[in-house]
Amino acid sequence: MRQGFLTRTPSVLIFLALLALFTLVVTLASHAYGTAFLSTSFVKTLGKTLCLCLVALAMDLVWGYAGILSLGHMAFFALGGYMIGMWLMYARTEDIVVQAQANAPLPATPQEISDGVASQIFGVVGGAELPAVWAFAHSLPLQLALVVLVPGLLALVFGWLAFRSRVTGVYLSILTQAMTLALALHLFQNDAGLRGNNGLSGLQNIPGLGQVSQDRLSVWFFWASAGALGLGYLLAAWIVSGKFGSVLRAIRDDEQRVRFLGYSVEGYKLYIFTLTAVIAAIAGALYYPQAGIINPAELAPIASIYLAVWVAIGGRGRLYGAVIGAAFVSLLSTWFTGGRAPDLSLGFATIQWVDWWQILLGLAFVLVTLFAPQGIGGLVDWAQGLRAPNRRGAPLGPDAGALQEREATE
């Protein structure tokens, strides 16, 4: 069946080939494994971009295919980052504490080490106790499990409550946004036990890999991100290519009708919402070690809105559209806000892109929504000489003999 799946969806093979090629090129241009053409920080930017592409893929599944405009997926992304960040910070601090006490006359007891770690991590917020949420932070396997479990369970419970009472459309978006905001505000508090607005830092230093240079680590994380994106793409394509994808798109277009076909719409929504939350969390867990720092501002509702903008600009309802949108817009955004874009002098005023980029992005979003709902991905259709079928309009052809639309790739 797998064979059939790949041949039926050639875009998957093309995507994976391009991703592999890109990975190879970046590796050969890196400091650690190649010509040093790309700086290590830029390799990290590219690796982070791949993680953003993965979360955009999740957003496309839940929004582009199932029609649920979630403004909470960046919260799941950040939660994934927090979960891995706790282990990174704990284990590294533990190393430091053990080293510092190595010269002491008596070997340190586990309790002393634990106390030392707690005061190192929480001194900054005036605490010396390890909060209960850090109970598993000493163990990588447990904390990795939490990367999946915490966002997954949150999505499951939230989704169950929201979908069961049939909240849809803009109300659901507002509800997801409220969840995101509440979570961010909670994490801002020192009581939440995650260092309040300081967040977690030093995440780029991987415990046990202290000897490995950042030049190498950046490439390793880039590989991991590319691998995750490849697997995520394969999974998403497999999901949407079958009957499950059919049902998702049907729910997006007319959920009442789907109910009368005997499908429990709420069950499907919950399923895809939770699954995509987990994908987002995994993307986040790969992103933040490359970013080095995470704080509650990462959960701000605006982040999830950006995510929706990327997917819209890339073209929702097609997987490669989401990836293109996330890569294109986030890289452009890095360029504009990084102060590298030259100022534009209009004579009477000078446009500084750091300030104007957001306006440009907002404008692009409005224009795409109004005039090119297919987004950048629509260019692919255009290049293939296809015209998008108008789903809401009148029938395209009278009867037999009407134009036979070639199936869109995907």
Binding site: K243, R257, P395, P398, Q404, E407
Partner: protein, 247 residues
Amino acid sequence: MSALLEVSGVSVTFDGFRAINNLSFNIGARELRAIIGPNGAGKTTFMDIVTGKTRPDQGSVTFGDRSISLLKLSEAQIAQAGIGRKFQRPTVFEDQTVFDNLMMALKKPRSPFAVLFFRPSQPDAARVQALAEEVGLGQHLARKSGELSHGQKQWLEIGMLLAQEPRLLLVDEPAAGMTLAEREHTTALLVEMAKTRAVVVVEHDMEFVRRLDCKVTVLHEGAVLAEGSLDHVTRNPSVIEVYLGRG
């Protein structure tokens, strides 16, 4: 003959307006039934109640051999129990092909897990092909259903209902907007379907109802006004007054 669907004493109020008023009637297991009535008589609301979209304020609705109550089931559970519904305007998934539409409707396990791992087998594909031919869409399997003509969409929807293999089929104004030839095809389909299951047709068009040649129920202000053959009910003075006498 025991009834497949039993509606008894059902009432629904929308914002103080009684759309269905103590409605009771039965449908047999292999019966073709037409429901007629003026605009706003409550025909669509009746279907909403049976399919779980609207909850009645009082009364009971039971279905099947074991007379399960439909009032506690969700729309999806009611559909799985064997009640199919065709809407007033054609509702097919226009973004998807005729094949995908039919495959989605095909009677198969409906849980997300089962559907995720479902891949159509040879017999499934053959069944879809046969269904498409039955409703006259055998040549159009690969087309997006959004491109079909109005009549073809109606048939696709009927094909989807057949694929569900329901024991009771509720059809709301199937002939609306159809050409004469399309109407005849639709009549034949409905009569054919009623041989193996119960079919309830709501229709305004008297000629269409006459061609169905079946028992007729006249609804008025949410209650049954008359029941019997078309000739019988059209002779009923109160029916003439509220419905036929209008125009």
